[in-house]
């Protein structure tokens, strides 16, 4: 392994600009003549728009234009779309209500877009927005996830029972049969709390229009600029793709929330032409709470059937998933194909049946948030398994190992074909890291100090890569989920790689360069990674679902293979040898069995000067591209163990120890991978202990700022012990599985299992706030006193 090659903890190339304040985020971009947009948002969760009077506002100082849904409709600008078709059990397609970028006729959640004001300054735009008179006919709000289908009020006329679809997966009859012969059944009701992604950089957009050549440019906080261009062109109708450039520069975190195509960027780019000026919008944090897509929000009943020896026989799950007021870009896939196929976890379960009812409510749209469906599935599985072990009187680690899948490939009853893994290896390593043997003593020490100590396991699995295209297409996806790469070798051997992946914290400029440096033998500083601009990168699917390594880098690897193959042809001419005799290693093309060789840079130069071969036999130049479509999803898996202590006096939970062992397949940069694990765990701990978006009965978001929505702070978390095991992934050329979401998937059940272990009962929901834990601990304390 070289110091900058695959497997090395290379310090990040992108860091210099970030640590010196020279990052270039969307809000840092200002275009000449730029105007500012302010969105007038609905204060009501559900209302009919009787009238929107903009006359007085339009006359206010600095106002360049005020637009409503009628203006968009008049310009034939289409609504926002959901790109994944789900069919109900009865075969009917999901019921998608209209989703105009500016409301038409009705508003459906607090924060919904009523009108936009474009003015010389943001303050003027905001002043004018206050002068718009809206006559709302307020309607009853549908808020409760579990009760939405029975609510009297209807969010969309297209879905009279507020139900988007009633979907199912698995073999119902086989599952019923498994339960019929079960010796023991564990049952559980749980809520997967609604979360707000909150990347630290709020969303922003700058729309620009060049009248000279009719080209629109949109700078936007996107995880996938090409998908944004596709949707804005082909579905929304801003401009044809060749007349629309989308640039996603440095992006300050996404966690899913910047995958989607939102109203604000649509309106900014469209309005730039309307007012003849660049139009900028930057979300404030309150707007982010109101109008960024939220995550999770499931209500679930689950049951696990076991035989007398504790072997798992079957699982059945019923989930109601809240999709909010409108179907966001990938919302329908999250509680279906990103959820139910993971219900087998790491376990050999012969029969699984899952039903999902998705509902509309008068709340912000719900879509993918770090993990997307897989944290929800893992929470169901790992809470059930932990409870089952307790009910059977078995050690939770041993019970898991008893039921682990051990033969690969393994076909689960819910679509997935797990390709490889060694779950017991991760568990054994995690138990050592956690000093499981010393737990009893630590529990006694805590008890002496009046504290309750608990340990919780999470044996998670996830399906990443979100590919292959044919597979996702058969499940309803509107797009293919390959990735593209283009490797441009310059005449003296420096390399530019254009990728369809997008980096918003993942460090692609470093890891992708490591791959190139490793494969071509060129110094890492001679490699540049280019992404995030549709004028530079031809097409790409973007970054989400832990796919940039497994799919994005694999595309680069394939393109690099082509570069090397072409280089061999060039070298054969230069070295006057047979192409079959040329070997490439350590940055040199050499003739087998001789000392004749050509370094990579010289080969590149020869490819461009083309003096040694005729253009008829070999094309000049050295540039190769690839579209890579993997053969399967990837299946990262691992074990996280949380040990914590509860102060029953205050209900404060302190995480004392976090031991994680993950199998991500081959690792390019362990420093970056560990960083991804840390961040994921923090978000998972946030879900378990701190975070929860709450609407009141009228549909007002009562957690609309950091004053009320509890973000994890440094003193809420411990340092983490992170270990790895490796089973290389057979489904891509690099053996990578993906690491971006693991922590967020693994952590919530580990925390709740630890709290319930400490409490000695199962009655605690997420987020387990000090108040909730105090109340739950009172029952424990009074029971202990009685004993």
């Amino acid at each position: 392994m070289s110091a900058t090659g695959i497997g090395a903890p290379v310090r990040r190339k992108e860091d210099h600009r970030f640590i010196t304040g020279q990052g270039r985020y969307t809000d840092d971009i200002n275009r000449p003549g730029q105007a500012h947009a302010f969105f007038l948002r609905s204060p009501h969760a559900h209302a009919r728009l009787r009238s929107v009077d903009t006359a007085a506002a339009a006359a206010m100082p600095g106002v360049l234009g005020i637009f409503t849904g009628e203006d968009l409709a008049a310009d034939k600008i289409g609504g926002l779309i959901c790109g994944w078709m789900i069919h109900s059990k009865d075969g009917t397609p999901m019921k998608a209500g209209p989703h105009p970028a500016l409301a038409q006729g009705k508003v459906r959640y607090v924060g919904d877009h009523v009108a936009v004001v474009v003015a010389e300054t943001l303050a003027q735009a905001r002043d004018a927005a206050e002068a718009i008179t809206v006559d709302y006919e307020v309607l009853p709000a549908v808020v409760d996830t579990a009760g939405a289908a029975k609510a009297k009020s209807v969010v969309h006329d297209e879905a009279p029972d507020n139900t988007v679809f009633n979907w199912h997966l698995g073999d119902k009859a086989a599952t019923e049969a498994a339960f019929a012969k079960a010796a023991h059944v564990t049952k559980l009701d749980l809520v997967n709390n609604r979360l707000v992604p909150n990347p630290m950089e709020p969303r922003a957009a700058v729309g620009d229009y060049d009248d000279g050549d009719g080209v629109f440019t949109l700078y936007t906080t996107s995880q996938n600029p090409h998908v944004a261009r596709l949707v804005l062109s082909a579905f929304i109708g801003i401009a044809p793709e060749n007349k629309l450039r989308v640039i996603a520069p440095d992006v300050g975190g996404g966690f899913g929330s910047k995958i989607f195509i939102y109203a604000e960027e649509t309106v900014c780019v469209w309005a730039a032409k309307k007012v003849g000026r660049p139009v900028k919008w930057t979300s404030d944090r309150t707007e982010a709470f109101l109008a960024d897509a939220h995550g999770r929000d499931h209500v679930t009943h689950a049951e696990l059937a076991m035989d007398a020896d504790g072997r798992m026989l079957g699982m059945r799950v019923h989930t109601t998933a809240n999709l909010g007021a409108y179907l966001s870009t990938f919302s329908s896939s999250v509680p279906t194909y990103l959820y139910a196929p993971l219900l087998s976890g790491q376990y050999d379960i012969p029969a699984i049946y899952c039903e999902v009812d998705a509902v509309y409510t008068n709340t912000a749209p719900v879509d993918a948030y770090r993990g997307a469906g897989r944290p929800e599935a893992t929470f169901v599985v790992e809470r059930l398994v932990e409870m089952a072990a307790r009910q059977l009187g078995k050690d939770p680690a041993k019970f898991r190992m008893q039921n682990y899948i051990r033969q690969f490939p393994h076909q689960t009853p819910v679509i997935m074909m797990y390709d490889t893994g060694n779950y017991a290896a991760s568990m054994k390593k995690a138990l050592e890291l956690a000093d499981y043997k010393g737990l009893a003593k630590r529990k006694r020490d805590s008890a002496r100090r009046g504290r309750l100590r608990g340990i919780g396991f999470s044996s998670y699995i996830e399906a990443c890569g979100i590919a292959p295209s044919a597979a996702v297409g058969s499940l309803g996806a509107g797009v293919g989920l390959w990735e593209s790469a283009e490797v441009r070798v310059n005449p003296v051997g420096t390399v530019e790689v254009l990728t369809g992946s997008h980096s918003h914290g993942q460090g692609h400029e470093t890891t992708f360069a490591q791959l190139v440096s490793d494969r071509l033998g060129v110094p890492i500083e001679n490699v540049s990674i280019i992404h995030g601009d549709t004028d530079k990168v031809q097409m790409g699917m973007g970054t989400y679902g832990s796919r940039s390594g497994a799919v994005g880098m694999s595309a680069i690897a394939v393109a690099l293979d082509k570069v090397i193959a072409k280089g061999k042809k060039v070298a054969a001419h230069v070295l006057e040898a047979d192409e079959a005799d040329i070997e490439f290693a350590d940055g040199h093309f050499a003739v087998k069995g001789t000392d004749r060789k050509l370094d990579f840079g010289s080969c590149a130069l020869q490819a461009y000067i083309a003096h040694k071969f005729s253009g008829q036999e070999l094309e000049p130049g050295l540039k190769e591209g690839a579209f890579y479509d993997p053969t399967n999803f990837t299946f990262p898996a691992g074990v996280h163990i949380c040990e914590l202590e509860i102060d029953p006096q205050t209900g404060v939970t302190t995480i004392e120890r976090w031991s994680a062992v993950d199998d991500f397949g081959n690792v390019i940069n362990p420093m970056i991978v560990e960083g991804q694990v840390h961040g994921g765990i923090a978000q998972g701990v946030g879900q378990a202990l701190l975070e929860g978006a709450r609407y009141d009965g009228d549909g007002q978001l009562v957690t609309a700022s950091f004053m009320d929505y509890c973000m994890p702070r440094a003193d809420d978390l411990p340092s983490f012990q992170v270990g790895m095991t490796v089973t290389p992934c057979p489904s891509n050329p690099l053996g990578i599985k993906g690491c971006g979401e693991a922590g967020a998937i693994a952590a919530p059940p580990a925390v709740i299992n630890a709290i319930t272990d400490a409490l000695g009962h199962e009655d605690i929901a997420m987020p387990a706030t000090p108040q909730a834990v105090w109340r739950a601990a009172r029952r424990t304390v009074s029971r202990l006193a009685a004993e």
């Binding site: 640590i19 990052g23 300050g252 914290g505 973000m711 440094a714 340092s719």
Partner: protein
């Protein structure tokens, strides 16, 4: 409108501004120093932390006109003469950043922490003093490591002598 004169990163700056201009807006919009960021509306995230007369403050909760006569240091002014500040170096060395958005505020807070508490910072102290800085990417693990290392590096004699 009001006149304001201050020193930013060692350079004198004079401007006529609307009194409601926040220091962070003045830095970002008037001076085009976009390294200082805005991540919330409630003075909690710390993405906007700069040093005002040598002390960490939240530039989103400070009027620019209130800084009359003051000296402001932003992330752009931390690296002296092209050499990275030891705290900047420590963030890179210890992978204390991912998306980079909270990073300028984190680094300015970290330098202030050392100024207040000295070069030996334990984990608990660092975590407590990061109360006003939110990071969504790193889980803080490597930020804490970076600050401890950066604090130590700031106290190395060679550097003290050079300064």
């Amino acid at each position: 409108m009001a006149n304001v004169t201050m020193t930013v990163n060692g350079k004198p700056v004079t401007a006529t501004i609307d009194p409601r201009t926040l220091l962070v807006q003045f830095l970002r919009e008037n001076l085009r120093l976009t390294g200082t960021h805005v991540g919330c509306d409630t003075s909690q995230c710390g993405a906007c932390v700069v040093h005002l007369d040598g002390k960490a403050v939240k530039a989103c909760t400070t009027l620019a006109v209130s800084c009359e006569g003051a000296s402001v240091t932003t992330i752009e002014g931390l690296a002296a003469g092209g050499a990275l500040h030891p705290m900047q170096e420590a963030f890179r060395e210890h992978h204390g950043l991912q998306c980079g958005f909270c990073t300028p505020g984190m680094i300015m807070t970290a330098v202030d922490m050392v100024n207040r508490r000295g070069n030996a910072l334990d984990e608990a102290t660092i975590r407590e003093d990061l109360d006003g800085n939110i990071c969504r990417c790193t889980g803080y693990h490597n930020i804490v490591k970076a600050i401890a290392a950066g604090a130590e590096a700031m106290g190395e004699p060679a550097r003290q002598a050079a300064e």
